[in-house]
């Protein structure tokens, strides 16, 4: 099973029925796979904080939700993560492309990359880093942990992970 298929299948098996995305080149394959699935409602967002609002609403409406976005979005969403997702105890898996790591061709991406883990640590967000393709095997347990704990959880997926996918 491809990594993209595995990610979507783990989301579905954990009851995720509502997914919002803001695209990244690295995430194109998984977004295509979500669009191919009838089991999830895919609602593209214009900005990641908007997406988190949609996810919070869908969760309260009875559908587990998830967001797929780039690590630059951490800079956009800190207030929403703290005053909506964490404050109201809303579980939110965040599948994040970790741009600016080894293999990155665009210099500017390294600027947010060097802050990504520090910001997530400061926000006390459980964070997992997928570096090799086999790391995806942990996704199912991470999703279960996210919904059990009712917390936002970050899954950083770097270029090496997607290269091996």
């Amino acid at each position: 099973m491809s990594v993209n298929k595995k990610i979507v299948s783990d989301l579905i098996n954990n009851g995720v029925e509502f997914v919002t995305t803001v695209p990244c080149k690295q995430l194109a394959g998984v977004i295509d796979e979500i669009d191919r699935s009838d089991a999830m409602y895919h609602i593209p967002s214009n900005k990641e904080d908007e997406g988190m609002g949609l996810c919070a609403g869908a969760f309260m409406g009875g559908k587990r939700s998830a967001i797929i976005m780039q690590n630059t979005a951490i800079g956009v969403t800190i207030n929403t993560l703290v005053t909506l997702i964490q404050y109201y105890h809303i579980p939110l898996p965040m599948l994040i492309s970790y741009r600016g790591e080894l293999g990155e061709p665009v210099a500017c991406q390294t600027e947010m990359a060097v802050h990504t883990k520090a910001l997530l640590a400061q926000l006390l967000i459980p964070t997992y880093h997928f570096h090799s393709a086999a790391d995806v095997d942990e996704l199912d347990a991470i999703l279960k942990y996210c919904f059990m704990s009712k917390k936002p959880v970050a899954i950083l997926t770097d270029a090496s992970f997607w290269k091996g996918a």
């Binding site: 609602i43 214009n46 900005k47 609002g53 949609l54 409406g61 109201y88």
Partner: protein, 188 residues
């Protein structure tokens, strides 16, 4: 009419409906006027009332009213194309447009100047957009609910605030009772 008058006038229409209410004074006023477990009060995160409301509407079948303000819609402008392109016929977005940032001291917004949120919503592709005078809000809202079509209402009212206490309810309690209410209503 100022926003609190508008809220008071629509209580008979929204009291038994699922309501997502904008941060700050709008939530505090609604909480004071008619606290219900079917109300979700935003205690933080300016701009996301319409997004949260659309998420609730898309996830279940009961009608949802998101009460928003002109300043908050301007903050989260990307919400209007998302709403237009993800039609939920159980969703009504009520923008109470008083042309000012009420909760922060009535500083003017661009919606009170050259920018028409009604025209913006239409340009974004929203199909049912109604602009109304404050005094007509309750009847326009009732018609929108009866039409069972997703509707954006832009209610033009005057700027101004009443003194209201802050909401001291815990956020998790607000969420829990809102979710229990949604679950019960969708069980039937």
């Amino acid at each position: 009419m100022i926003r609190s008058d508008v809220l008071k006038s629509i209580i008979p229409v929204i009291s038994d409906k699922l309501v997502v209410c904008n941060i700050g004074l709008p939530s505090q006023e609604l909480h004071l006027l008619d606290d219900q477990p079917s109300n979700f009060y935003m205690l933080g995160t300016m701009g996301l009332s319409s997004s949260i409301g659309l998420g609730v509407a898309l996830a279940q079948k009961e009608p949802v009213i998101a009460i928003d303000g002109d300043g908050s819609v301007l903050t989260n402008f990307g919400t209007l194309p998302t709403i237009a392109n993800n039609v939920a016929d159980n969703f009504v977005l009520l923008i109470i447009d008083n042309g000012s940032y009420g909760s922060t001291g009535d500083q003017p917004t661009y919606a009170g100047k050259k920018t028409s949120l009604t025209e913006v919503a239409r340009a974004c592709g929203c199909e049912n957009v109604v602009e109304c005078d404050a005094k007509d809000t309750a009847s326009v809202l009732q018609q929108a609910l009866d039409s069972k079509r997703m509707t954006i209402i832009v209610c033009k009212c005057e700027s101004g605030n009443i003194k209201v206490p802050v909401i001291d309810m815990d956020p998790v309690v607000i969420k829990h009772r809102f979710m229990q209410e949604i679950k019960a209503r969708n069980a039937g």
